[in-house]
Symmetry: C2
Subunit: 194 residues, 2 copies
């Protein structure tokens, strides 16, 4: 009897490596399918691990998601752009689907899972750290923080339309026109009063 054992596709994973394997599989599957449709069982299977290990290593599916999303701060360097070019740079970046690839999926997953208070506060923190604080610190004039916050709101509006609603009509429009018009609106809150 040959009993070749044929483990087909489930290699046993060296002992102790399950945590990292799960984290990697979760990053991929959460991005591809979102929080709800990436199941713990699928993530574990993709990592070659047991579903119960998700609870053992991370505590819950939600905690795993937060861990995955924790290291995504894609826009950090973008907002370092000089203030005069910031609005154009941001809108251009959002419209660049390729560059936005992973950040887009993470944003969508975060927003759609924002039922949960902890995920919602992570979303708020993400907005705060990536937009509000760095921009407010550089703004001159009155109400710098409020203006940075309204800037972030406008940016989230474009993200929502492009990445959540996936508005095809907007994509059919002239990209240059979108950039110049939306950037002009962004500049209104960036500029200090006369």
């Amino acid at each position: 009897m040959q009993l070749a054992d044929a483990p087909s596709d489930r290699r046993p994973l060296r002992r102790g490596s399950a945590r990292a394997a799960i984290l990697g599989a979760a990053a991929r599957l959460f991005a591809e399918r979102g929080f709800t449709h990436a199941t713990v069982r699928d993530i574990a299977a993709a990592a070659g691990a047991d579903p119960a290990l998700v609870k053992y290593h991370f505590g819950s599916k939600e905690a795993l998601f937060l861990e995955v999303v924790q290291q995504h701060n894609e826009w950090r360097d973008l907002v370092e752009t000089p203030l005069e070019e910031l609005a154009v740079a941001v809108v251009t970046a959002l419209l660049d689907a390729d560059a936005a690839g992973r950040g887009r999926q993470v944003f969508a997953a975060l927003v759609r899972a924002s039922d949960s208070p902890s995920i919602r506060s992570r979303l708020a923190q993400s907005m705060e750290e990536q937009f509000v604080r760095p921009i407010a610190a550089r703004l001159e004039g009155a109400e710098a923080e409020l203006r940075a916050r309204l800037f972030a709101a406008q940016v989230h509006g474009l993200m929502t339309v492009l990445w959540l609603i996936d508005d095809q009509a907007l994509l059919r429009d002239d990209r240059a026109a979108i950039v110049s018009r939306y950037a002009a609106a962004l500049d209104v809150v960036l500029r200090a009063d006369d």
Copy 2:
């Protein structure tokens, strides 16, 4: 025989009225808890009906949700405001938590359930019918539709920050300042080029 029958709390629902009862309970529970956390069993129980009737009358939980959300067009009359006052009127309305009460919950439920293609397209349709089309029809100058679309994007940004992220920091700011600054940005895309 009097047949007082007192069925404790589960009144039998007159035959034929289950559909309406489910629709009403669904409207309340979807708004209160969102799509995911309002379960079919809870909705049916609140309506005094059997869970299987949801499928019988509506086809699926998702179809029931779409039916509930179908008749929510809260902003229809708001965008009838004269163009000169439109931006201020919209921002003021969004900041008015009481007036926004039900529309706020429906918006949050829609966005968070936008995983599903049919719900996502309903969200797109909602943006289109309540903002883009009525405003584009009244705009003068070049690229009226694009400008209306960018107006809608900005509005969705404020909705997201206020109603999804539930940004407390923004609410601590001066409402008048928010209105004047965000409205100014909205006006940039509303106004025709010089």
